[in-house]
């Protein structure tokens, strides 16, 4: 067991510390810091999906009054490390995807930079390209591992034989679309070089990530790079890894020492330069006996990555853990295409990977004439099927039962096509899961002065509430009122923090703060003098060797479909989650509700349309790339169970930032079937797919 913190502030719904600054617009985002003197960069992007720049005419751009520099692969400063092709900005004439940076103009004003960028003439030698994901392509390959380092394939027994012999069989192909993260604050950086090194204001989920990547890329000591990011206007994973614009900003700043060079991606540019979720094609097989017990489970996933850099989304992961099954196979195959580089998006792996299996479970429930909740309960594993370890806590059944009560599932007539007030109405359920991740190394310092404890750690608050809940954790670890704690985050001047990713922030940063508080108290006792300071680093959690650690949840959806048009609306979403101890109900609810709303959006709306001819996303703005509007999400409710898990960390908490999006789309698809009798296996569920 980890040594638990005695809770006082933890569990209370403290108002967000940054709430006032956020709603009044005074919380500065990356390029809102009042730095001077400035210069503004606007990039030139490749118009071909694959090829080589053969000629570049920058004379007209250079002639524009106010232009400070035009950077191309010929004159840009050299980078020390170009092994990451996404980040090897302006180092060669090669073009790996449409939209890649091929030049950049830096000017005294943003409008001048943009105008001059339009005057740069680029010629290409265009090569044959492939931007079409084809599940039957002969060029699919198995990556060495899937994100971040899981086995590509797993095999347990002979699932094909078991499936063929099963009394009840479901074999279907499910597809999720390509999705873009689209945080409100675009990806943006200010970069500045002087004799001390490089300083960057960046919009990021991890200042230390940016620091180490830029240091490596430019070949300087990490100590000479400072990255600052107190507030982030959303990231959803797309700011968890460094993208090319941050390197471009630093590159341009190096060419213009003393200037703060600003780079802000436009919304359109975010559709090719800031990562995205790969489309997935999921071939799912479920074999069961007549009572619904799974004898075979197969999940074979095909996804895309970019030819210049591999990212293998772990969509097969949830199928390894969710249910007991006599035999099982999961595989991942990738197509390396001439497309932008995919990356993390909220719950990479779990989010798309729960769609196929959870719809297939619904199909199996229908085939077995079983309630879909009962089907899931019958397939509860007593140990994690993947690792063979017992679960530190697993309350999927509790979530399903509590959700059923709250949602009003028990009155449900399983037959589809109920009509109410001229609308077809249906309900559906799906499960969700997310692992308890922990990354090493997070460190915090605590310093006492003026009757306050100042806690410093380079953590990030993407709008999640980290500013607030880290203070609550510190207060309880120190056993002082939360008002006595001052937080400092979002700066590499503070101790190392792992990335805000994998829903691990609270575990990692909270664990470091608890360690620092314990070091502080053991050194100074309860009456520290001014200037007392202690540091603590997140310890390894030996329990992770003995337990499988996952959060679980159940998602319920009620949908309405207009019979004459197929228009579908989600009247209600309700989720119940088991995520250990909830540190702050206010910020937690907003994470769950936000995740579920994003899942609704994935179910009905989001769809990046990649034109295989150009390798570009056609609907690359928020008028065309639809995200659920308020009117689409009239009722989204989140609840949680009181779950005590002494093994995960001293707070007893599991990550909550991502699980809300997991399973939601399947619940909506299952409800859409119940409303219409039409089984949609390809997202998004649009009216044309339901119009009978």
């Amino acid at each position: 067991m980890t040594e638990p913190v005695t809770v006082r502030s933890i569990g209370t719904d403290l108002v967000r510390r940054d709430a006032w600054a956020k709603v009044t617009g005074t919380a500065p985002y990356a390029v809102e810091h009042p730095v001077r003197p400035r210069a503004y960069l606007y990039p030139v992007q490749a118009t071909v999906p694959r090829g080589t720049v053969t000629a570049m005419d920058t004379a007209a751009a250079e002639a524009v009054d106010g232009v400070l520099a035009v950077l191309t692969h010929r004159n840009a400063p050299r980078l020390a490390d170009t092994s990451d092709a996404e980040l090897a900005v302006l180092q060669s004439p090669a073009v790996g995807f449409a939209g890649q940076f091929v030049a950049a103009v830096v000017a005294e004003h943003p409008e001048i930079a943009r105008q001059a960028a339009g005057l740069v003439r680029v010629e290409y030698d265009r090569m044959a390209h492939d931007a079409q994901l084809d599940p039957d392509s002969s060029e699919l390959y198995a990556p060495d591992s899937v994100n971040p380092s899981y086995p590509t394939d797993t095999l347990d027994g002979d699932p094909d034989a078991a499936l063929a012999a099963a009394a009840v069989q479901v074999r279907q192909t499910y597809r999720t679309a390509m999705y873009h993260n689209n945080p409100m604050e675009p990806h943006a950086s200010y970069a500045h070089w002087d004799s001390d090194g490089l300083t960057v204001y960046d919009s990021t989920q991890g200042v230390h990530v940016v620091r180490s990547v830029l240091a490596r890329t430019f070949g300087i000591d990490a100590e000479r790079v400072r990255v600052i990011c107190p507030y982030v206007g959303g990231g959803f994973g797309s700011k968890g890894t460094v993208h090319a614009h941050a390197v471009l900003a630093a590159l341009a700043a190096r060419a213009l020492p003393g200037r703060w060079v600003r780079v802000v991606l436009t919304r359109q540019q975010m559709f090719c330069l800031a990562g995205y979720r790969t489309p997935t094609i999921q071939r799912v097989g479920l074999g069961a006996d007549r009572s619904g017990r799974l004898t075979a489970l197969t999940m074979d996933v095909v996804e895309q990555t970019s030819r210049i850099k591999e990212f293998a989304e772990q969509s097969g992961m949830p199928a390894r853990t969710m249910y007991a099954a006599g035999t099982r196979r999961t595989t991942h195959r990738l197509a390396a295409l001439d497309v932008p580089v995919p990356s993390w998006m909220r719950a990479p792996g779990e989010c798309p990977g729960m769609f196929g299996p959870e719809v297939a479970m619904d199909e199996l429930a229908v085939a077995c004439d079983l309630d879909p909740i009962e089907l899931r309960i019958r397939n509860e594993p007593d140990r994690d099927p993947d690792s063979g370890l017992p679960f530190s806590s697993r309350n999927l059944v509790g979530c399903l039962r509590e959700g059923a009560d709250r949602f009003g599932w028990h009155d449900r007539d399983p037959r589809p096509r109920r009509m109410v007030d001229g609308w077809l109405v249906g309900s559906g359920v799906a499960a969700s899961t997310y692992p308890v991740n922990q990354m090493p190394g997070a460190t915090a310092t605590i310093r006492y002065a003026d009757e306050h404890y100042t806690v410093s750690i380079g953590a990030a608050d993407l709008g999640t509430g980290a500013w607030t809940i880290l203070g609550q954790i510190a207060a309880d670890a120190l056993q002082v009122p939360v008002e006595q704690v001052r937080m400092r985050i979002g700066d590499t001047a503070f101790p190392y923090a792992s990335v805000a990713g994998g829903s691990s922030g609270t575990t990692c940063w909270g664990g470091a703060i608890v360690a620092a508080a314990r070091a502080f108290r053991s050194r100074y006792g309860d009456r520290p003098g001014d200037g007392a300071e202690a540091e603590g680093t997140l310890p390894d959690n030996p329990e992770r060797k003995h337990w499988a650690m996952h959060a679980f949840g159940a998602q319920f959806a009620e949908v309405r479909v207009r019979p004459d048009s197929g228009e579908i609306r989600v009247a209600r979403l309700l989720g119940v989650f088991a995520c250990g101890r909830i540190v702050n109900p206010r910020t937690a609810r907003s994470q769950f509700v936000g995740g579920m709303t994003m899942g609704l959006s994935m179910a009905l709306h989001e769809d990046s349309v990649l034109d295989p001819r150009s390798g570009r996303v056609v609907n690359h703005d928020l008028a065309q790339y639809h995200i659920a509007s308020c009117a689409d999400a009239p009722s989204v409710q989140a609840y949680w169970l009181d779950e005590h898990d002494p093994y995960v960390n001293p707070m007893g908490s599991k990550g909550i930032g991502e699980i809300g999006i997991v399973g939601t789309a399947a619940a909506v698809a299952n409800a859409a079937w119940h409303a219409t009798g039409v089984r949609v296996r390809e997202l998004p569920i649009t009216c044309d797919k339901l119009l009978g």
Binding site: T47, L604, S629, A631
Partner: protein, 329 residues
Amino acid sequence: MKPFRYDRATSPAAAVAAVAADPQASYLAGGTNLVDHLRLGLTEPGLLVDVGGLPLHEIEELPDGGLRIGAGVANSDLAADRRVRERYPVLSVALLSGASGQLRNLATTGGNLLQRTRCGYFQDVTEPCNKRAPGSGCAALGGWNRYHAILGASSHCIAVHPSDLAVALTALDARVRVLGVDGERAIPIDDFYRLPGDEPQRDTVLEHGDLITAVDLPPLPVARNSGYRKVRDRASYAFALVSVAAAIRIEDGTVADVRIALGGVAHRPWRAHTAEQALHGAPSTVEGYAAAAARELSAADPLPGNAFKVPLARSVLTSVLTQLAEEAR
């Protein structure tokens, strides 16, 4: 984005003179469409003449019982006008189904009618597009055309007109008042918009320098029983896949008067003359409405990417007429 000059027009005539004299000039109203286009490089005017200060912000009664809507009236003001809501409800509902509250506050009547297609390829200067760059080709034909035309398209362009307001005005037989270098004229809205043919760069019959000053609505008792239904990919803030504007009057169980226009199906708001003719004097029955809708859509020539619009338009048109007929009783 290229540098441009900016002028505030002092009178309609001065605005026309300024724009007509300069082939690179363009009017600026609310800017909700034009400013996006400047940023995207779709258009590069050398001079913007702001018509926002012109005295075109009134909605006035006409002697014949119709209404005159100034070109500068904001979409939100027009939608909220009591006379419009009572006498032409279709217009108010259509406006409120478009864009967002913030956009409607800025967007004007004139600008709304002249907003350009939302075709994704039109809005991306790196793509071939005959409407933006005549002769360059049409990327939508072999590309993403879910939103594109099923009626009246050509091999040069399959774009649709995005305005909801224009669809309602088409059903209402509105007239667009235009001031040009040769004086003022009124153009029936059914003659105002063009089909693409081999000149898709021209959305309307207007000449360079023509200024919309107002839109006239005729007195139209049938319009009191009118409605607008917009089918779209999310509950609000999305352009129409298909929309229907209609007004109907039933007398003794037969259709005495009917007006229908479809949106989202063609390069222009689509006045459903065929369906109207089939219905005039016919008995008011669901079967009759369905048959009329089917006749209207029989001319459809969809692509694989938008074939669903044909049954969708048929079905929704039938529903709208049936429902309005019920309300007319």
